[in-house]
Amino acid sequence: MKNYFLRRFIYSLFTIFLIATVTFFMMHSIPGGPFTREKPVPPEIMRALNAKYHLDDPLIVQYFDYLKGLVTFDLGPSFSKIGTSVNDLIKAGFPITAKVGFFAVLLITVLGVSVGIISALRQNRPIDYFVMFMATLGVTIPSFVLATVFIFVFAGKLGWFPPFGLASPLGYVGPVIALSGYSLSFVARLTRSSMLEVLRQDYIRTARANGLKELSVLGKHAIKNALIPVVTYLGPTIAALMTGSFVVERIFAIPGIGRYFVESVSNRDYTTIMGVTVLYAAFYVLMVFLVDVLYAIIDPRIKFEKESG
């Protein structure tokens, strides 16, 4: 088991390294430097700028500098926000994004799983149809539509929630709903179908035949097993939440990391794009690793399959 985790961990580190490398060479293959403007910059200033940011070094030297920076968690200065480093941007934005993301994950797991279980237990009853209808709607409506409709109806027409910002706790409601909409629906559907699958198994019938109380049949035997596929989906969920934050933070004017990323994309702020990409990728790889570990712990079958395959 330990061996497996170690191997997975080294593999994750290698993935992050590869992502960083690919991102670096992708960004450096763009014609023109970060200081290319419509109005040409005088050559001496250009030279000074390039020297300041070490852009006149050979590419391979820059690459090793960059790797060194990554290892020491120094992502370099931002090219468009003069005087701030990418680290500053991340320090300012990440906690906010993480907070909203945390509430979204909480909503997804608690509400998604419970709604899915209820729906499975009441299969083909009105409540099941209602849940499935909402869940189907949820996976077909893009997050930006959800967010704008929320602002339009609840912030604009009814005035129940602030239309932007996180100044009051109520401000979290909209972003969290918009962010979790898709994954929430997906988790509800996934939980329902895997719960139905489990309820059909022989061991559930055996448990019932042995006279176990319904509550312990469900709690001890059914739900535990039904949640295994849900756990695997948690990794991709976190990815969906991160990328979802690009849109949601823009609409709700939240100064999180997603908004910085979108801004840096439109400003062609290469160091920020690179830094945030690597951060996101590393975070994602880490989450996938954690989910894998969690997975192997809950379901011993998985490990052997992977070990042999």
Binding site: M27, T136, T140, V145, I273
Partner: protein, 398 residues
Amino acid sequence: MMEALNFEPATAEEAQDQELLRISLTYWQDVWRRLKNHKLAMVGLIGVIFVILFAIFGPLFSQFSYSDQNLDFANTPPRFSIYRVADNPDYNVFLTRDYKLLHISDNGTILNRLKLDDKDVINKKYTYVDGDKSVLLDFSYNLLPGKEAEYDYTFSMNGAPEVIQPLKKVSNRLYPFGSDDLGRSLLVRVMYGARISLTIAFVASLVNLLVGVVYGSIAAYEGGRTDNLMMRFVDLLNSIPLLIYIILIMVLVGNRGLWTLTFALGSVYWVQMARLVRGQVLSLKEQEFVLAARALGVNRSHIISRHLVPNAIGPIIVTMTMMIPSAVFTEAFIAFIGLGVSAPMASWGTLANDGLGGLMSYPYQLFFPSLAIAVTMLSFNFLGDGLRDALDPRLRKG
């Protein structure tokens, strides 16, 4: 010994046993029969056909093209209240949110815009003229202190008594979905956006299909170290947040054309297809018909393309059907953060992005593109679910 003596003619009854009682169905007839019984799938199929027809033929029936502008008729909603300011001949007007006065016919066709002649900002009275007619707009009612009325504004033509009640609500005949901030028909733009969005989705899915099928089948058929190496690479791609990479590719290429986006989408999402095809081929390649083909000396590429892939076609089609809506979704997402096709081209994502700015005043500009996305997503999802059940009943989900 085979001699005529050993045989006797079959009786009529026995002969009848040999006859087919039921028409034998081919695989596809059987699929179609099952699909027809799946109500939601049929709804999805109709939706898909409708969206495709809408995209292909819709723009042909319109007098406008997607880039025709008319600033005079900008931001007109799909339905509006008209006021009759004169009888015999009837003269109806509609006041837009940005205080443009439009002359509307009885059935809702926008005829022309009245010229703003005089602006009395202090008393909140504007005068509009159209030839010898002049309309006085008084919108001071709920804006100035001391005046409180049930209506917000009144019209009066050539000094006639004030009109306070709208005549009726009519649908916009000129722009059924309303017009955008440059006076372009939103209906035509949504139809045109359907072309762009669907083209991107179809082509990207096709690229995914090709790459995924070739990659997956080769990996599975070769097996051993090749398979291991190829699948490690897929695992690696799978552990990367791909959307960020699409964004990076879009930033890199810089040119916001249709094909850049298609290429970006097509180049990263084949991983799922490759895994699926590999799984299918792995189980198929041990079967006797493959052994038979090998024994007959059929070469590798032939075995893959003629024997293995066609037998895995069911799950491939299902995955493909599910890939199209997710490509539409991803395209909309990318367009929404400002990396979509450049103006005056429009996809559903860019239209939604454009509509966001004026959400409070012109919600319909966001509503229609979003509706189009949602309808497409729903239709393809329903169809995909139905196809999964119809193509391979073993995969049926509870």
